[in-house]
């Protein structure tokens, strides 16, 4: 079945440093989504990427979808303590009837 691998599992950064998490799918995706889960909270939808090579920005967050539509990344510039949490990618295929395959997440901690 479809697998979505996400690395790294954990990342500890100093406040102000950059952070990147990577997501790789074993199959070509129709789109990829990113979620953020704050400690003690639930996953919250951030963004969806659909087009090959697409790049989207949300303030300090930059999301990329690979040309082959099999990988994606989330980059945070100049991390802040409010960025702490677990970031999940979720891959989707048209044949999956709306069922996403989630990566295991990258947990980010930020030292002030």
């Amino acid at each position: 079945g479809q697998q979505v691998m996400q690395i790294p599992q954990y990342q500890h950064v100093q406040e102000g440093e950059d952070f990147t998490t990577y997501c790789n799918s074993s199959t070509t995706l129709s789109n990829i989504q990113w979620y953020k889960q704050r400690p003690g909270g639930h996953p919250v939808f951030l963004i969806q990427l659909v087009k090959s090579g697409e790049v989207k920005k949300q303030k300090r967050l930059t999301f990329q979808f690979g040309e082959a539509k099999k990988n994606s990344s989330l980059h945070i510039t100049a991390t802040q303590t409010t960025d702490v949490g677990t970031y999940f990618c979720a891959g989707n295929r048209l044949t999956n009837a709306g069922k996403s395959t989630f990566g295991d997440g990258t947990t980010l901690t930020v030292k002030p």
Binding site: H42, F45, D104
Partner: protein, 112 residues
């Protein structure tokens, strides 16, 4: 504000009890999902439903059943609770085209 509401935030049940976890969404979403989240294991899909009275098994359906009698409500049933079902349970919903999931706040179930 759109919502997915889970009936209980915390629940403690005894081994062998029948447990009902309720989820209600007010967004007219076709798809509804039940996940469990355990440390180091990410989000694992238990069951999902894409229409009233329709259900499909996810990755870990054993020991669980579901019910969807109305579009807005999706119930997860633990037929005979066991200690290995102690976990955080997350309900989610989405439109049929899956433009992103909306998650509930979760139910932390402890089986003693």
């Amino acid at each position: 504000d759109v919502k997915v509401t889970q009936s209980s935030r915390y629940l403690v049940k005894r081994t062998g009890e029948k447990v009902f976890l309720e989820c209600v969404q007010d967004m007219d979403h076709e798809n509804m999902f039940w996940y469990r989240q355990d440390p180091g294991l990410g989000l694992r899909l238990i069951y999902f439903s894409y229409d009233v009275k329709m259900k499909e098994k996810g990755d870990i359906p054993e020991g669980y059943s579901v019910s969807r009698e109305k579009k807005e409500r999706f119930s997860l049933i633990l037929e005979s609770a066991s200690t290995n079902q102690t976990s955080m349970y997350l309900c989610a919903s989405s439109f049929i085209g899956n433009y992103g999931y909306t998650f509930g706040s979760g139910t932390r179930l402890t089986v003693v």
